[in-house]
């Protein structure tokens, strides 16, 4: 058991990676065997991440050095700096790891019945597993170059998944936009990594964080990283690709591509807090993040209100919700250098932002899945061509209600808890921002009321008389997320204490992140 915990971080990446390339072979045996391998690999990854998380909450940060005599031997003998590939997993990384594996598992189960209608299932699952690998690697890695590599893995597999239904013209277009944005973004990240390497000859995030001087070149690298990652996480004004990509991606993979952009959000926070940290001009950078957040929130929701395509509507809400996280964590970053403000509301703001990431992954994931269920059953994404589906698709309707109430921040659902944390703390920083955040929440509710009313109530259209509830695996996929939402709504303080607060502490504690690799620095 001990050695399993020691190696869990690399195994959680390696097992889905191995499974990804076994899947095409297993597909020759049959679909059942293939599904078992996929679900099994993801479930195993989830199990490994959970035991890793337990170990991190008990014993602190986990470091894994690949190829070293001992896994915690980060700096080889006779060397001054880490040269091997290091996975550095703290409470924040493992928090993202839990989200990633849960959503991937739900997405894979949901995809089973979807794939019965499609061809090329073996390749679909290879891509799905690679996407999971990319996200897990991105959140676990401890050096900047592997950050780039995993960013590319998730981009390539994400784009191929988005364009998977190539018989639709819009699918190839959405996938193409995603890969162009990702390719440019990743090149910019690589260029920034090159700039950092040119000055310090280091790649490890911890070693770089210790050496960083915040010179003019570092500022350029920071600007490049922020722009590239903001583009990848679809923050306004760099959000153009997101509605197109999210709306065409098939079934279970839309939530995964969305979580992939949340992983890039994590990357942004890792760069800001752990790599640059207090050496930054935190007030300025904090405001930059806050402005990105407010813009995303507001523009996202106003664009969503008038959408008639249900998946585009969801996609704009996804952009809008990312704004809350940027807002909460931006406020925390702005007061990072001020211990008093940090203790009185900054920490709360960061916790709210982080809590919102997991809440949002759950209810947004659920909503994307219900939207796809409607598309699956009705063959259209146009809200004007739906109606009265409450009678035919009871469970989907109930899941939709749960998701819609949670995203609008209606008490007692989990969206309310994290939004309240953000409102309260942001109010102390700047009341105007809190008011905007509440206004966005009301608009969100309005938009979802409209969507629910068009899709599920009113008279059913004659051509939809024979529509039936979606198959069981789809309901199970949605059910997993719905149960998680209800659990999070019933026990918010339990969740905050066990997983959110350690993540906040880990994000703020730059010295701890450096010390784990550089040794007592």
């Amino acid at each position: 058991m001990d050695s399993l915990v020691t190696h869990s971080s690399i195994l959680a990446i390696a097992i889905p990676l191995l499974a990804a390339f076994i899947v095409p072979l297993v597909s020759k045996v049959g679909d059942k065997a293939r599904n078992t391998v996929v679900i099994g690999a993801l479930a195993l990854a989830e199990f490994l991440v959970i035991i890793l998380a337990r170990d991190i909450y008990l014993n602190g940060l986990h470091v894994y050095t690949l190829g070293a005599a001992a896994t915690d031997l980060t700096i080889p003998e006779h060397y001054m700096v880490p040269v091997r590939i290091i996975l550095e997993v703290d409470a924040m990384s493992v928090f993202m790891g839990i989200i990633t594996t849960t959503i991937s598992l739900a997405g894979a189960i949901y995809s089973i019945s979807f794939m019965k209608e499609e061809t090329g299932g073996d390749r679909f699952y290879t891509l799905l597993l690679l996407l999971a690998v990319g996200m897990l690697g991105l959140v676990f890695t401890g050096d900047m170059f592997n950050f780039f590599v995993f960013l590319e893995i998730l981009s390539i597999s994400g784009a191929a998944l988005a364009a998977f239904r190539t018989r639709f013209g819009d699918a190839t277009e959405g996938g193409f936009k995603y890969i162009v944005i990702s390719a440019v973004g990743a090149l910019v990240v690589l260029f920034a990594v090159g700039i950092l390497y040119s000055q310090y000859n280091l790649l490890s995030i911890a070693a770089l964080a210790q050496a960083i001087q915040y010179t003019a070149l570092d500022k350029i690298a920071l600007a490049l990283l922020v722009v590239a990652l903001a583009m990848k996480l679809a923050s306004v004004p760099l959000h153009m690709w997101a509605p197109d990509t999210y709306s065409v991606a098939p079934a279970g993979t839309t939530p995964m591509i969305y979580v992939a952009s949340q992983a890039c959000l994590y990357g942004l926070f890792r760069v800001l807090f752990s790599l640059y940290g207090v050496s930054l001009d935190t007030l300025t950078i904090g405001w930059v993040v806050i402005i990105l957040g407010v813009l995303s929130m507001f523009v996202g929701v106003t664009m969503a209100v008038h959408q008639s395509d249900i998946k585009r509507l969801m996609a704009y809400h996804a952009i809008s919700q990312s704004g809350y996280m940027l807002l909460g964590i931006g406020v925390g970053l702005a007061v990072l250098a001020d211990p008093q403000a940090l203790a009185s509301y900054g920490r709360e703001a960061i916790s709210g932002g982080i809590f919102h990431i997991i809440n949002n992954a759950l209810y947004k994931g659920l909503l994307f899945l219900t939207a796809e269920a409607l598309f699956f059953a009705l063959g259209t994404r146009d809200l004007n061509k739906m109606g009265g589906m409450f009678r035919n698709m009871k469970y989907t309707a109930i899941f939709f209600i749960i998701g819609a109430l949670a995203i609008s921040g209606v008490p007692p659902f989990n969206g309310f808890t994290s939004k309240l944390m953000i409102y309260e703390s942001v109010y102390n920083f700047s009341p105007v921002l809190a008011v905007i955040a509440m206004l966005v929440s009301i608009l969100t509710l309005a938009s979802f009321t409209k969507a629910f009313q068009s899709a599920f109530t009113g008279p059913a259209l004659p051509q939809h008389d024979n529509v039936r509830e979606v198959p069981k695996p789809m309901l199970i996929g949605m059910g997993i997320l719905a149960v998680a939402i209800v659990f999070f709504s019933l026990f918010p303080s339990l969740v905050v204490d066990t997983i959110v607060t350690p993540a906040t502490d880990a994000l703020i504690d730059q010295a701890g992140y450096i010390g784990a690799v550089m040794g007592g620095a």
Partner: protein
């Protein structure tokens, strides 16, 4: 690193390649040209990495039977190789998506083959 005009030429080339690439990406509407822009930008970044590791008069960084002298840095070369491999995958995917778009719309102009709006 000894500064001097000859040493800076690779970096000037890097700046030129990346600017040309970005310019193409931002201005061209033909999707094939867009991909060309990305590839040019990628070459610029790769050249940047390789020239970072170069040391004037350096030798090949292989330790066995190495003659005396300065070695060039091996890490950026490894990074560049990885980056080239990834670049090939991205380019292949982009080109195949363009091919599919062309089949659907009969056009590779970004404005004319566009369906998703709003």
């Amino acid at each position: 690193m000894t500064a001097g005009l000859p040493f800076n030429i690779p970096f000037l080339a890097v700046v030129a390649l990346i600017s040309i690439g970005l310019f193409i990406i931002l201005t061209q509407r033909n999707l094939i040209k867009l991909v060309m822009g990305i590839v040019i930008m990628e070459s610029g970044v790769n050249l940047f990495l390789v020239s970072l590791g170069y040391r004037t008069g350096g030798i090949v960084p292989i330790f066995t039977h190495a003659p005396e002298g300065v070695m060039v840095l091996p890490v950026p070369q490894a990074l560049t190789l990885t980056s080239i491999v990834i670049g090939v995958a991205t380019t292949a995917l982009m080109l195949s998506l363009i091919m599919l778009t062309y089949r659907h719309t009969g056009d590779i102009d970004a404005e004319k083959s566009r369906r998703l709006k709003g």
